[in-house]
């Protein structure tokens, strides 16, 4: 073990030196390396930069903080996942069948799989995970009330029976949404406060080694990994770097091998990548990342639909795409993101319905009873988290609304305070946030529009509560896959009419990785917010 670590160290040191002092020669070296026989060799370490500010818990059954999700890909695994074309790919479930009535799901599990501590994995673990972590898992809120029974008729079979059909069920067993947890570790203990939440035991290619506060989290090769001989790398170290610019600096300077740039940073990252030691990988099918404006319908004039429409007309979304997202986003077309190819209906298109048209906006406001008086129509408070890209979006919106005669007061807040103000106190007129849509409208889209009486954070803060719509949404969720698209068209039409939330942009996602790793194509073969788990990548001997 000790010697192995020494080797890692040597690798990384060399790596640092190479990229530090000889960017050009490292390019040559990597070009040379392309020529080797392409056979993976073990050894080496990858240092991945993570934002450390929100990792209180590594157990992603209980948290959906992004850095924890990045880390979970390394140590945890699940029943299935998606390839880059968004096709489902089996993981620990070799196959699955769905009953005719759509109520019974049967998963056939892989055999001989062991947890990272060497204990055997069985269907009982899956049942245990669903029964015990389901209540903590925010994605399963739709599913859990529908569960009739979860059982393990034998070690290799996981059986799920629902009270009524939910078409998105399979998507809820994606390895990122539903990482499997070891029964033998958690059973009989207080799950919420279990130490394994920060020193996890899982089925992923690497296992938890150590966590140095504020500095790094280290994972080493899991000797029991079911996809042997993967992983090839000895270890994955997550460097904890809260500031996005510093993450970029660190990869430029060769201190880390991977990070995910913020969209606003991508051009700069691409620019820096031209110097040679790393490249920027666009994710082919990323989870929808939609910047939205929520209106507080409890307040006048936001409760006037004409005002909302006018405000939508007043926003030049192309400008936001260009300036804030540096062209790496598209305007959002309707409530259902375009990534959901089978569900998105192009007939509802905000680009045409709510084209940038200040005159029309002014006219609508006049009609709504807010004519210009002394150059002003009314005042509103736009609440936003004080961080990129929200603040830039807010400034563009502010400029454009101000041009219309609206006195926009910007409140840029710490995330905690913003959450409190918007979702708990409802003390805002309009608010800007970016929402992740994941793999299905049930996961992350519905929340913006369905009635949210309990003031759950990050779900519909607008007080929009339309029984007609809620019914459409429920029907859409339970409809058989081939009929869903029609339901979601109605869904999008209602929202396009009522506009409790303005969808501004849908941005793309990029990751940056140093060039010396091999097999990166397989590494980045994923969709919907799943991340590289470093099981595929390897380092040639001369780079280790």
């Amino acid at each position: 073990m000790d010697t192995a670590k020494r080797n890692d160290a040597w690798t990384m040191h060399r790596l640092g030196v190479i990229s530090l002092f000889a960017g050009a020669s490292s390019l040559l070296l990597s070009a040379g390396a392309q020529a080797d026989d392409g056979k993976p060799v073990p050894g080496g370490t990858v240092i991945a930069a993570l934002n450390s500010t929100t990792i209180p818990n590594l157990n992603t059954q209980m948290t959906s903080s992004v850095p924890a999700l990045f880390a979970a890909d390394v140590w945890a695994d699940g029943l299935m996942t998606y390839d880059r074309e968004a096709n489902r790919v089996p993981r620990l479930a070799k196959s699955w069948t769905i009953s005719e009535d759509g109520k019974t799901y049967t998963f056939n599990l892989r055999e001989g799989v062991k947890w990272s501590d060497g204990k055997p994995f069985s269907a009982a673990d899956v049942v245990f995970t669903l029964e015990n972590f389901g209540k903590f898992n925010t994605y399963l809120t739709k599913l859990m009330p529908l569960v009739e029974k979860a059982s393990a008729p034998d070690d290799k079979t996981f059986l799920l029976t629902l009270k009524q059909p939910l078409t998105a069920t399979l998507d809820l067993f994606d390895k990122e949404v539903f990482p499997l947890m070891p029964k033998h570790i958690y059973e009989g203990k207080d799950i919420a406060t279990h130490p394994a939440n920060i020193a996890p035991v899982g089925l992923g290619p690497f296992k938890f080694d150590k966590w140095v506060s504020g500095q790094s989290i280290t994972f080493v090769r899991n000797p029991h990994y079911w996809e042997a001989p993967k992983p090839y790398l000895d270890s994955v170290i997550f460097a904890l770097i809260p500031n996005p610019q510093q993450r970029l600096n660190a990869i430029v300077n060769g201190e880390v091998n991977w990070f995910r740039p913020e969209v606003v940073q991508v051009p700069a990252t691409q620019q820096a990548a031209k110097r040679g030691s790393f490249r920027v990988v666009p994710i082919v099918t990323n989870a929808p990342e939609t910047a939205v404006i929520d209106f507080n319908l409890r307040r006048s004039p936001m409760n006037n639909v004409k005002v909302r429409q006018a405000l939508f007309h007043a926003i030049d979304r192309q400008r936001i795409v260009r300036d804030v997202y540096q062209g790496l986003a598209e305007t959002a077309k309707n409530a259902i993101p375009t990534q959901f190819k089978n569900l998105h209906d192009t007939s509802v298109n905000y680009d045409t319905m709510y084209a940038y048209d200040p005159k029309r906006a002014a006219q609508l406001l006049d009609e709504a009873g807010f004519p210009l008086k002394d150059g002003k129509r009314f005042a509103l408070e736009l609440a936003v988290i004080s961080a990129a890209p929200y603040d830039a979006v807010a400034q563009v919106v502010q400029a454009q609304w101000t041009a219309l005669g609206i006195d926009v007061k910007l409140s840029a807040l710490d995330q905690q305070i913003w959450t409190n103000k918007v979702y708990t106190q409802h003390d805002f007129d309009a608010s800007i946030i970016s929402l992740t849509g994941r793999s299905n409208p049930v996961l992350g889209v519905d929340r913006s529009f369905v009635c949210n009486e309990t003031s759950v954070p990050y779900a519909n803060p607008t007080s929009y509560c339309n029984p007609e719509f809620d019914k459409v949404a429920a029907n859409a969720a339970s409809a058989p896959a081939d009929q869903q698209k029609a339901h979601y068209k109605t869904y999008a039409e209602i929202i396009a009419r009522d506009l409790n939330q303005l969808a501004l942009t849908n941005s793309r996602v990029f990751e940056a990785v140093t060039n010396n790793f091999k097999n990166l194509d397989a590494q980045f073969n994923f969709s919907f917010n799943t991340h590289p788990n470093w099981a595929e990548a390897w380092l040639p001997k001369d780079k280790q």
Binding site: Q271, A399, L413
Partner: protein
């Protein structure tokens, strides 16, 4: 022999008494850095008040060019959302100067009042007040400000109040020190012997004598306040509705490498303002206490 013959009345030629304000201002401009500092401040004040006349664009206006480098059209280039950096810097002088002076004056008000009270009254009042000062000095400035801003949100006026809260102990100590120094002076005893009121003694007798180093400290505090404001802006805690240099630096972080002009000009503006305030304070100090510059002569 009449002593009017031996009188060496050191009145300056034009009849302005040496210790008077007019004379101080005249002397301030006589010192090189005092003049430079005052000059910088005057220019800044002019820029701040005449911002709409000087700035070619409305600071919130988006031009068609984002991230444009400095050119004749955009002297300092444009930022990520196409605003003219020159106009932003010009308008930013308003909030930065306001934060600086506002916080320094507010600190003077709080610290000064407590310092006067502590300095004039002896015994328990003095002890209690100085303990309070100590309490606030023991807490790191930035923690107080972070908490305050986190508590009430990034409101511009709150920011001023928070910065003032952070620096008032310095003022309190200074004012207190001045009062301690002066309360044993004979003219204070003379005023007491003449049965003049406590308020009279505090504000008419002591204050005018204590005010000069306090003014110097206000100028220094203003420079500290501007630096603190910049730091808060850098942490993303400044008011986004107000254009300020700190906030510009905060936004510019992500573009340091690609759009240097976004951070260079606001950064330089902060620097120049801080230098100006310090030069002004140094100049003022020199006028008040000429000894502070005549040091080199000490060693031949």
């Amino acid at each position: 022999m009449s002593d009017s013959k031996t009188a060496t009345a050191p009145a300056s030629g034009n009849g302005i008494p040496v210790g008077s304000w007019q004379a101080h201002i005249a002397n301030l401009f006589g010192t090189r850095h005092g003049a430079l500092g005052a000059g910088i401040l005057i220019v800044l004040v002019i820029v701040a008040t005449a911002a709409p006349l000087i700035a070619p664009y409305n600071p919130l206006e988006q031009t068609q060019l984002s991230l444009a480098p400095p050119s004749s059209q955009f002297l300092f280039g444009t930022d990520n959302i196409g605003r003219d950096v020159f106009s932003l810097v010009v308008y930013g002088s308003r909030s930065s100067l306001l934060v600086g002076l506002g916080a320094a004056l507010a600190a003077l008000l709080i610290g000064g009042t407590l310092g006067i009270l502590a300095g004039y009254f002896q015994g328990p009042v003095e002890a209690a007040l100085m303990r309070l000062v100590e309490l606030f000095q023991t807490l790191p400035v930035i923690i107080l400000v972070l908490c305050a801003v986190a508590l009430f949100g990034s409101n511009f006026w709150l920011l001023i109040a928070a910065v003032a809260l952070a620096i008032w102990p310095m003022e309190a100590r200074l004012v207190y020190g001045q009062y301690i120094k002066l309360r044993d002076r004979e003219f204070i005893a003379a005023a007491r012997v003449a049965d003049l009121s406590t308020a009279h003694i505090m504000f008419r007798e002591i204050l005018p004598n204590a005010i000069q180093p306090i003014i110097v400290q206000v100028a220094l505090d203003a420079s500290i306040a501007i630096l603190i404001e910049a730091g808060l802006g850098f942490l993303g805690l400044s008011d986004p509705s107000k254009v300020s240099w700190g906030r510009l630096l905060f936004v510019a972080q992500d573009y340091m490498d690609s759009a240097w002009w976004m951070s260079l000009f606001p950064g330089a503006a902060i620097c120049i303002t801080v230098v100006g305030l310090n030069l002004f304070a140094d100049g003022l100090n020199e006028v008040i206490d000429p000894r502070s510059t005549s040091g080199m002569g000490g060693l031949q």
